[in-house]
């Protein structure tokens, strides 16, 4: 009994921490409609700033509280700066570009934190009052956790009062419904949005600092926190603070008991619950309907390729085929990675552009393909061609099974569900050590003798990946491709002319999954190994960045984006240790300069000329 109670209390304490982060995220989204990927980074900064502050203050409770409050205030100020300097310019951009910009901030903050605080985990020394315990039903329970338990509902109450009992809160709520109306009231909407962002960032800072006594300031906080916060916000319903609290309780308790029941699969458990909630309530527990759907912006007309464009593609392909004549082994290895990236990006573009389904977890299919190839080649001794056939097959089948849930949703919810699924696959790859080798991965998966050597590997990768991308292109100009775009442009009309939009979207999801799986399979033989990193959030983001860089609505976009990104990435990796910082800054600047992607901007130039 006591055991259960203590676990429940631990769950409640965890729920409070989750809620602090998630409430900030949901408040920001509710008002500005921005999905702030950098929210985890703000939490991480809260932890680092908190560490800097708290280690310099006397170690009694009053000073601790003051230090935590100061940290929250500092992060609020930083949030305000971030909003004024960057996000304010993006409110009219498509939501995916806003998201991309905030992902650029994630990268920048990663390296800024690394440069400022170094790579080691930073902990604060815990004075006796922080180590105190109370006895609850014969178990020892930290007093600090009791404090945390109280903070959650306290913050919930404060937010409720703030939004319902103050003029500011009423204005903010009005702005959520109708931005023009607030402008008409003579209120400067920009100040309103900045203050909301500052509030959210302050809550993130609070969460980061309060997490210090039981944890540390480290460079992994950003992505782990943002994933959990997304899960909570999506389960609760985007924009709903009370929903976020309920979801925090659900996830907090689930984690606390999950550790006891199935210690190896807590992550999987959390995401399974999220998927279940979204299937039953597509807008989350307390979410309102009408979630944004046009994640990728308005559709522009797509023209079939002209003779000139086809000629251009042909020349590019010829040049690529001739590359081994001039390129050295290193250049060839980069080109090989670029070929894989092209197929990976093209497959995401397929679902995201013409399909209108922005997947945040596209690395899942890449990873499933990679593991299918790696496991079959090494565990079952399947020869390379067979393994390369199994890769798209496995990924395609998985995409069908999972896509059945995905195609019921749209917009941010769909994006979050795909992210969740990718995290399940990642967790499986990471935690199922006996099969996948866990963090060590699967090593020594090399091509057979006839296909070894950088030139042959390159040509093999080029053939399969360029071929795969060409197939995807061809499908887009087929009746099926038109039906897919029709389902995106107007589901209402598509159904009224007899198209089965769900089945069409599902088929597209499966095709894209299979193509990404092929890319993953090829990559396995290129690298000779498979790692959980293939399925990680950053890898999903790679695909997203490539597609958005190139432009979602142009068919050439993913190719341009993949080549540009691979080149940028490699150049940076060689030039500087702080490649994330530069890459992040480049992404932010590109988003500000080309809100419709590189290929999109070029295309418009050409049209105008």
């Amino acid at each position: 009994m006591g055991f259960l109670l203590v676990h429940a209390l631990t769950g409640l304490a965890g729920a409070s921490s989750l809620f602090l982060v998630a409430s900030g995220l949901t408040v920001i989204f509710g008002v500005t409609r921005i999905v702030n990927f950098a929210h985890g980074s703000l939490t991480m900064l809260g932890a680092y700033v908190g560490w800097t502050v708290l280690t310099r203050l006397p170690r009694d409770p009053a000073w601790f509280a003051l230090g935590v409050a100061g940290t929250a205030a500092a992060l609020a100020a930083l949030g305000a700066l971030l909003e004024m300097g960057l996000l304010r310019r993006l409110y009219r951009s498509p939501e995916l570009f806003q998201l991309l910009a905030t992902f650029g901030v994630v990268l920048i903050v990663q390296d800024a934190a690394l440069a400022t605080w170094g790579p080691d985990d930073l902990t604060i020394s815990r004075p006796p009052w922080l180590r105190a315990y109370v006895r609850i039903a014969d178990e020892r329970f930290p007093v600090y956790d009791l404090v945390l338990i109280a903070i959650g509902p306290a913050v919930l109450a404060c937010l409720w009062l703030l939004f319902n009992r103050t003029r500011w809160g009423r204005l903010v709520r009005a702005a959520t419904w109708d931005r023009e109306m607030v402008g008409a009231l003579g209120v400067d909407q920009r100040v309103l949005f900045t203050s909301v962002f500052a509030l959210g960032a302050g809550l993130a800072g609070l969460a980061g600092a309060l997490g210090l006594p039981a944890g540390s300031a480290n460079l992994g906080i950003d992505l782990s926190v943002i994933t959990e916060a997304f899960v909570v916000v999506v389960i609760g319903g985007l924009g709903s603070i009370t929903g976020a609290y309920l979801a925090s309780l659900l996830i907090g308790l689930l984690q606390a008991f999950g550790v006891v029941l199935i210690p190896k699969a807590t992550l999987v458990l959390v995401f399974v619950v999220m998927a279940a909630v979204l299937v039953l309530r597509p807008n989350g527990l307390l979410g309102r309907g009408g979630a944004p759907t046009a994640l990728a912006g308005t559709a522009t007309p797509v023209r079939p390729p002209t003779r000139g464009m086809l000629l251009g593609w042909g020349l590019l392909l010829l040049a690529a085929l001739a590359a081994p004549l001039v390129a050295g082994p290193y250049a060839l290895s980069i080109l090989t990675e670029a070929a894989v990236a092209v197929l990976f990006a093209a497959s995401l573009h397929f679902v995201m552009g013409p399909g209108g389904m922005a997947s945040f977890g596209h690395a899942a299919w890449f990873g499933i393909g990679a593991y299918a190839a790696g496991l079959s080649a090494q565990g079952l001794g399947v020869p390379m061609p067979g393994a390369l056939l199994l890769a798209p097959l496995a990924a395609g089948v998985a995409a069908v099974l999972f896509g059945a849930f995905v195609v019921r949703l749209s917009g941010v919810y769909l994006a979050m569900l795909t992210l969740a699924f990718a995290q399940i696959v990642w967790a499986a790859a990471f935690q199922w050590v006996s099969v996948t080798g866990g963090d060590n991965g699967i090593l020594g998966i090399w091509p057979p003798a006839w296909a070894s050597g950088p030139a042959v590997v390159y040509l093999l990768a080029l053939t399969l990946c360029a071929g795969g991308a060409a197939v995807l292109q061809r499908v887009l100009y087929s009746p099926f491709g038109y039906a897919l775009r029709a389902s995106r442009d107007s589901p209402l009309r598509a159904e009224a002319i007899g198209l089965d939009t769900r089945r069409i979207r599902l088929a597209a999801f499966a095709v894209a999954g299979a193509a990404a799986g092929l890319a993953g399979g090829v990559f396995t033989f290129v690298k000779g190994s498979v790692f959980p990193g293939f399925v990680s959030i950053p890898h999903s983001m790679d695909a997203l960045v490539m597609v958005l860089l190139g432009g979602v609505q142009t068919m050439a976009g993913p190719v341009v984006g993949a080549l540009a990104y691979t080149g940028l990435y490699d150049g940076l990796l060689r030039a500087t240790a702080y490649w994330r910082l530069v890459l992040g800054a480049a992404i932010v600047l590109l988003v500000l300069a080309f809100p419709e992607g590189i290929a999109g901007a070029v295309q418009r130039r050409l049209r105008r000329a």
Binding site: T298, A299, T300, P301, V302, P304, R474, V475, Y477, S478, P479, F480, G481, Y482, A483, R485, A486, R488, D489, S490, L492, R493, A494, E495, A496, I497, G498, L499, D500, I504, V511, Q553
Partner: protein, 260 residues
């Protein structure tokens, strides 16, 4: 044989009874105008016939077969084409491609990932665009067409499926007065020529009285009159509730304010 027979149709949204026991029927080659002031429940009726909404009660029979609550996709396959009050077209495609997609879907040609779509059903699509007066706009993206042209495009898309019943929700909104009559005369011709049954709603009384065979008048969800145009014009209840001061031609209904 009666193409569409609706009996005791009912639908409420929350507390609002939008459609309250409505019955009507449309014969082949016949044009039935469903008219009524804003908010009378016309669109709700269309959506229940087209499958976009499930009726709370009552039956919808298409050529004798009950289609109440059946999905829009199946209803389309059974030979019902429609246009929407707020146009729904594929913005990223040209007008011609919009019609092609509809025609290809009708011929069950969608699931061919290998065939190039460029010339599929192209002559048919061009003929239809020509018929509705959009030939000059065929290569422009639907996303940039004027509102009246989008209405024409929807008509062409609906006709591409060779329907036996055509539902048109305010088909001439956004057009000049002369164009309205011309377009509906065109529909009149197709209806008579092919035996197509047409159910339409329209705020322009010239159009309504000019082309329809029969008129059904809806007010606050209930049918208050139905019959031949002359009878409706003379009906005192209709004059009182709907036509207000007795004007019959060219004017929008007295309570009307919204345009689309």
């Amino acid at each position: 044989m009666t193409v569409l027979a609706v009996e005791g149709l009912r639908k409420s949204f929350g507390g609002v009874l939008a459609v309250d026991g409505v019955s009507f029927a449309v014969e082949p080659g016949e044009m039935l105008a469903l008219i009524g002031p804003n908010g009378a429940g016309k669109t709700t009726c269309f959506n229940m016939v087209g499958g976009q909404l499930r009726p709370d009660a009552g039956s919808v029979r298409l050529a004798g077969r009950d289609i109440g609550g059946v999905s829009p996709r199946r209803i389309c396959r059974l030979g019902v084409g429609r246009t929407f009050q707020v146009t729904a077209t594929f913005a990223s495609m040209t007008a011609r491609e919009n019609v092609q997609v509809a025609a290809v879907a009708h011929r069950r040609g969608t699931w061919r990932p290998w065939r190039s779509a460029a010339d599929l059903e192209r002559p048919a699509a061009e003929a239809l665009l020509d018929q509705v007066g959009l030939a000059a706009q065929a290569e422009r993206a639907a996303g940039v067409l004027a509102y009246g042209d989008l209405k024409r495009l929807e008509l062409a898309m609906a006709l591409a499926a060779e329907p036996r019943l055509l539902l048109m929700d305010e088909p001439t909104a956004g057009m000049a007065a002369g164009e309205r009559v011309a377009l509906m005369r065109l529909v009149r011709g197709i209806a008579t020529g092919r035996g197509l049954a047409v159910l339409f709603t329209e705020h322009d009384m010239d159009v309504v009285f000019g082309v329809s065979d029969r008129i059904a008048v809806l007010a606050r969800g209930a049918l208050i009159a139905s019959g031949a145009p002359e009878a409706i014009r003379a009906d005192p209840q209709v004059r009182a509730i709907y036509l207000g001061d007795g004007r019959t031609g060219g004017e929008r209904p007295a309570s009307g304010g919204r345009d689309c």
